[in-house]
Amino acid sequence: MNFNLTKKQELFRQMIREFAEKEVKPLAVEIDEQERFPMETIEKMAKIGLMGIPVPTQYGGAGGDHIMYTIAVEELSRCCATTGVALSAHTSLGMGPILENGTEEQKMKYLPKMASGEWIGAFGLTEPNAGTDAAMQQTTAVLEGDHYVLNGSKIFITNAGYAHVYVVFAMTDKSKGNKGISAFIVEQGMPGFSIGKKEKKLGIRGSATCELIFENCIVPKENLLGAEGKGFAIAMKTLDGGRIGIASQALGIAQGAMDETVKYTKERKQFGRSIAQFQNTQFQMADLETRIQAARLLVRSAAFKKDNGIPYSADAAMCKLFAAETAMEMTTKAVQFHGGYGYTREYPVERMMRDAKITEIYEGTSEVQRMVIAAKLFK
């Protein structure tokens, strides 16, 4: 049993903290205000290998582990949750399913360009009538000779419009229910594939969240990911990995709000002393700090299991549930500690509170996480 980061992970933490402080933090307000995807940051991240952290070197990745990946998403999100989720969706949802389910040809075709950041990845599962009940897929894929024809649409797709590679789910056999769902690798520019409406959101406003539209979209047969009918299993397994990423994002948001609040409560004076000197502040902050540390241990424990081939589905659900609820509690209290100033855009805690909310919703709502945890408990 060892709770310390390895030297390698610690050196990585040092680098990513500096990168986030110097390259990501200065843009956070602007990309939120302008609802602008931080492409320039993605390019800087690509240059140092952040777009392929857990991808093996034979596929052009950095050959790192998932603990490093969680540290990256946490540290980026501590400064800017938009940047954190761009990396998380690209890594866990875009590259993850190809790495875990792709043929050697598919891996060699897509992963080197994705891991180098030349191509960004995304994931299309959610539909207007298939949210938490993801098995209710309406998008269809019909095999016609050497290609599939996809029809339907996806909503709330992170990185949409900026991504080059989308892992998309569609029904190949409606009669089989969720066993009739298949996964496809769809490239930007394939005939019949277009990007629809961009969502206007409460938080993570720089993140591109759009609709994907498939109108007789032609996808080559060799872009089927895994076997026909295995799509639902691939989606669920992919989301297990994704949840570790979102938990890391939530953890980063919480840590960012904690750091801001410590600084502010030490400076802000009321009734002749700093508000950090009031026991009410101290006790609430002590509880929040304890929750953040607990969330970090849950995140790293789930990532450790993933790295070591130990089943981690319930662990991923637990860390995502706990970190998301911690982020929401921490940021809400951070605004409260900042008082009227915290409600203004002069201080970052307002943005952090808006950003935190989505972590309780996407890649499985908190309710879904509880279903996953309970299913393991009562199996």
Binding site: L11, F12, I48, G49, T57, A62, G64, M68
Partner: protein
């Protein structure tokens, strides 16, 4: 082209606190970092590597913990790392340090030796120029940029107090580099992953040829008489005046203090 870069592990002085009673630095819990000017020098070397495929060796003299900055250097992209460590080096001032480093560099192939301008813990700016003297090499200090012609001439931008000079140096030579002018690259993720699988060579006094009396405390003529914390400056005065009035006001104040 072969480049040797000297780097030093220093306490992060931006995090340092001074004990108000004794006036000494509180070192506990202060993170150690690669000296910023040295990191600038390393970046300059790595740019020459990117452009001319230069071979870059880093060397540091220090305790075994200094291994950390050599791993960082590997993660930034150097080819070879040497840790010069021995109890015989302990207590060295700048002269003894430069003797040890110069003796080690003599055992390496080099066209260019780069050091940082100065270390943030001692701020002497002496070690680089002393190494150049011991190696009998030309030197350019306060280097802000360098362009290599690919053969043996390097065109250097040297910062001065009121501007800069453009100089040409022929290899072999020594540069001392300013961090402020050269933004170092980030370690790459793959570099970090592989940094701990690479070999850091440990050299002791046995690996270099030098008279023992030039090393460590024995080789250090510097004596520290007293260290003390600098007194805090009073906040400056603020005057609300027009730009025209400000010139007269500044001149009057400078005259009042006999500065002009």
């Amino acid at each position: 082209m072969k480049i040797v870069v000297c780097i030093k592990q220093v306490p992060d002085t931006t995090e340092v606190k001074i004990n108000p009673v004794t006036g000494t630095i509180i070192r506990e819990g202060i993170p150690s970092i690669m000296n910023p000017d040295d990191k600038g020098g390393l970046e300059l070397a790595l740019r020459l590597k990117d452009e001319f495929d230069a071979h870059v060796t880093v060397i540091t003299m220090g305790p075994p913990q200094a291994d950390a900055i050599l791993r960082e250097a590997y993660a930034m992209g150097v080819d070879r790392a040497i840790l010069l460590t021995d109890r015989a080096f302990a207590g060295a001032d700048t002269l003894a340090t430069s003797h040890a480093l110069a003796a080690a560099i003599k055992n390496l192939d080099y066209d260019l030796v780069i050091t940082g301008r100065q270390a943030i813990d001692g701020d002497t700016a002496q070690v680089g120029p002393q190494i150049a003297e011991h190696l009998d090499l030309p030197q350019v200090s306060y280097v802000a940029d360098a362009k290599y012609d690919g053969k043996e001439t390097i065109r250097v931008k040297k910062e001065t107090e009121d501007g800069y000079q453009i100089l040409e140096a022929t290899t072999p030579c020594v540069f001392t580099v300013l961090a402020s002018a050269i933004k170092p690259r980030y370690m790459s993720v793959r570099g970090i992953v592989e940094a701990f699988d690479k070999e850091v060579e440990t050299w002791t006094v046995q690996n270099i040829t030098i008279e023992p009396e030039k090393l460590g405390g024995k080789g250090s003529p510097t004596r520290v008489k007293k260290s003390f914390a600098k007194e805090l400056k009073q906040p400056g005065a603020v005057y609300e005046v027009t730009p025209e009035e400000s010139v007269d006001l500044i001149i009057a104040k400078l005259k009042e203090k006999f500065i002009i």
